[in-house]
């Protein structure tokens, strides 16, 4: 049985970037990896494929093709890349699309055939409907990771995801493996995320700094692991990969009520603002000397 994990988090927070780098790092460590993008945008695996997108599972449904070889495309270092795909923006039901795609992959022996050591689901945004909760239901992923920054809305989304995990936990659904703090610029941001996980009976597995290397590699159509393997940032992703492999944690998080969450956040946000101002003033003082 492969290890199956699902990566969730607010839209644009860095799920696909983190997932792809995690896949690449795991692959470098010698594991056979399958990455499944669960997002109609179809962009989860592009940096594993030199910036090129691949036909999606739902494209084959759309074309009524039964050629399952079209579903899996090899990426960096032989990583199996799959995109669930979905409808055009504004039509149809993307949630049902995720369900159909995952069912198709599971019932047609696609996953068995490739027999990867680890499968990573990169799932879009908030868990807006049942379809996007599919990967955390019984029998799919065993661990969920959530990506967040120190932005209130990102943490808010994590808190909501925790509620989703709780809902499915009674029926053998996936539990929390840990929180990935992304785009970190200061230790205070780390403290805030750490405090959130303390308060919700969960834990941070890795902090990933905000880094221009990531952006540069993305523009070249590659992951940081591929494009800048010797960078500090690549080492961070390799660290994450090693931890994920060893991580046996399955937290049953205790999310905040919405009101409590905003009360908790307002204290931290004030601190962060003050901190930002001090940093800015320091830079200005420094530059005035030139």
């Amino acid at each position: 049985m492969p290890k199956q994990i699902a990566i969730y988090g607010k839209g644009g927070i860095g799920k696909s970037t983190t997932t792809s780098n995690l896949s690449a790092a795991l692959s470098d460590l010698g594991y056979s990896v399958m990455q499944i993008g669960c997002d109609p945008k179809n962009d989860s695996t592009t940096t594993l494929r030199k910036g090129k997108s691949i036909p999606t599972v739902l494209d084959t449904v759309r074309k009524r093709s039964s050629d399952l070889d079209e579903l899996v495309h090899e990426g960096y270092n032989g990583i199996y890349c799959i995109e669930a795909g979905g409808p055009e923006p504004g039509v149809g039901c993307a949630g049902r699309g995720i369900i159909a795609a995952i069912e198709l992959l599971n019932t047609n022996g696609v996953i068995d055939e490739y027999d990867p050591d680890i499968i990573i689901y990169d799932v879009l945004g908030d868990v807006v409907c049942g379809g996007f909760a599919m990967p955390i239901r019984k029998g799919i992923a065993d661990q969920v990771y959530t990506v967040t920054s120190s932005d209130y809305m990102a943490i808010y989304a994590v808190n909501n995801l925790f509620k989703g995990i709780l809902k499915y936990s009674n029926n053998g659904g996936a539990l929390l493996g840990g929180v990935i703090g992304n785009s970190i610029k200061s230790s205070l941001q780390e403290d805030m995320i750490k405090d959130f996980t303390d308060k919700t009976d969960s834990d941070v597995i890795q902090f990933v700094p905000r880094s221009p290397t990531v952006t540069r590699c993305e523009l070249d159509g590659v992951t940081t692991i591929e494009g800048a393997p010797d960078s500090e940032q690549a080492e961070v992703y390799r660290n994450l990969a090693r931890k994920v492999i060893d991580n046996k944690n399955k937290f049953l998080p205790t999310p905040f009520d919405n009101d409590d969450l905003s009360d908790w956040a307002s204290g931290w946000i004030n601190k962060l603002l003050v901190n930002e101002k001090i940093e800015k003033d320091n830079i200005q003082e420094g530059s005035s000397g030139i």
Binding site: V61, R62, G86, P87, E88, V91, G92, C93, A94
Partner: protein
């Protein structure tokens, strides 16, 4: 589990009018909103339903609506020939608009019909297909409307209301044009769901004709679209139901200023029919002499006819208790007829069409205040067949007027003779039979007496 516990005493009558709430219903005596629109459309000659739904929705209604309505097939446009987008998973995920567009186009091309009723079921409503926009593309090519009728939104009876909302909002012109005097439109009788709809509508038409009023009954009439287009020019609208068609006549009043006359029920038998004719005659300024002459002439023969079975009734089943389980309008009509014209005793009246809370007291009052009898019936709002049956246990009634669901076991379960008068009726072919008007009341007497005389 008898209903009595849940009933409260409301000025002498036991009822649950205030507290009827439900989250699950066993074998309800209605289907879903889509079914109501479907049946209503098939009642219009030259109307063709275009179902935007899964394939099962249409086929299901062949059994759930058409056969249930007195074993009636759907004609050229219904049943298995119904145009349907037959949505499958692919359309759920990617949207079903394109398939619908093709379906409307080909239906307009090959069907010999005038009115195209695109009916959205659960799937397009859940995934948010922009059906209005697709339908808009065809509005200049044919008379086409869109009725958004997901099954989860409402029952089949409300589907009738949704149908009229769409006709009035999307098809009828803004301006009424010339008003034609002494003309009326009839609302409140639902094709198929009111099993005797064909005969009842035609009877109302003939009755009104007899006092010089032209009734546009829309359904059953050749060239149905012409009849729909004539709706704005009526002098009055008439609705014969406490809640079905009421929204339509209110809308028409708002849109064209057409006044309406509201009756709680389809008139059954001489007394109700006379009352109906008098009120319509008065509103439409028919000389009362004309009305009274017609009523006298009808009553003369009606009551002579009533004397024929009189002996059988008096000797075998005089002053019997009876139970009714039927849709609002017919429950009211039958209950009044049986008490006021046959001298029968109302035991329990169950209203099965789940009318909105706002009209339940109206229905209750109508029954309470118009019975010529010392016995006050329990009036129960109940849609669940299991509970309807439970409510019938341990009661004195000898006749049960309800759907064919109770037919096979009425004697065994309640020791009562059964007369099928309400949806669903699977055990009778219903064509011209009806209970409206003079003949209708007499037909009911025939049915009742036939159930206990003989066998040789």
């Amino acid at each position: 589990m008898t209903c009595k516990k849940a009933l409260e005493n409301k000025s002498g009558i036991l009822t649950n009018v205030e507290n009827f709430e439900r989250d699950s219903v066993e074998a309800p005596r209605y289907s879903c909103a889509l079914a109501g629109v479907y049946g209503t459309t098939l009642g219009i000659r030259g109307g063709i339903p275009i179902l935007h739904s899964g394939a099962g929705c249409g086929v299901g209604q062949l059994f759930g609506t058409l056969y249930a309505g007195g074993e009636s097939a759907g004609g050229n446009e219904g049943g298995t020939s119904t145009p349907c987008s037959c949505l499958v998973e692919e359309h759920v995920i990617l949207g079903g608009e394109e398939k619908l567009r093709n379906l409307i186009e080909s239906t307009i091309e090959i069907a010999n019909d005038d009115l195209f009723v695109v009916t959205s079921g659960c799937v397009p409503s859940l995934i948010g297909d922009d059906v209005d926009q697709v339908v808009d593309e065809f509005r200049d090519k044919a008379a086409v409307i869109h009725v958004n009728a997901p099954g989860f939104k409402a029952n089949s009876l409300e589907g009738y209301n949704l149908f009229w909302d769409a006709i009035i909002d999307q098809l009828l012109p803004d301006d009424a044009g010339d008003i034609e005097e002494k003309t009326v439109n009839i609302f409140g009788i639902v094709p198929y769901n009111h099993v005797y709809w064909k005969g009842d509508l035609l009877t109302i038409k003939t009755l009104l004709e007899s006092i010089g009023i032209k009734a546009n009954i829309i359904f059953t009439q050749k060239n149905g679209l012409d009849h729909i287009n004539r709706i704005p020019s009526a002098e009055y609208n008439i609705v014969v139901n406490p809640w079905l068609g009421v929204r339509a006549v209110e809308k028409l009043k708002e849109k064209y200023g057409t006044p309406f006359i509201k009756f709680p029920n389809v008139p059954i038998g001489a007394k109700q029919t006379a009352e109906f004719l008098r009120k319509v005659g008065e509103k439409l300024s028919v000389p009362s002499q004309t009305v009274e002459e017609f009523i006298n002439q009808k009553e003369d023969w009606n009551y002579r006819l009533m004397e024929y079975p009189g002996d059988a009734i008096i000797l075998v089943r005089p002053n019997s208790f009876y139970a009714v389980a039927a849709e609002s309008s017919y429950a009211i009509g039958f209950t009044k007829f049986l008490a006021n014209e046959l001298g029968y005793l109302p035991d329990i009246i169950q209203i099965t069409d789940n009318p909105p809370v706002e009209v339940r007291n109206e229905i209750l009052d109508e029954i309470k205040n118009n019975l010529d009898t010392v016995v006050e019936p329990d009036v129960v709002f109940e849609a669940d067949t299991y509970k309807i049956r439970k409510n019938l246990e341990d009661r004195p009634f000898l006749f049960l007027f309800s759907s064919s669901i109770e037919s096979p076991t009425s004697i065994e379960d309640y020791n009562a003779l059964h007369i099928p008068i309400s949806y669903p009726i699977y055990n009778k072919s219903v064509l011209v039979k009806h209970y409206a008007g003079y003949d209708g009341g007499l037909t009911l007497v025939e049915d009742i007496v036939s159930s206990f005389v003989g066998p040789l």
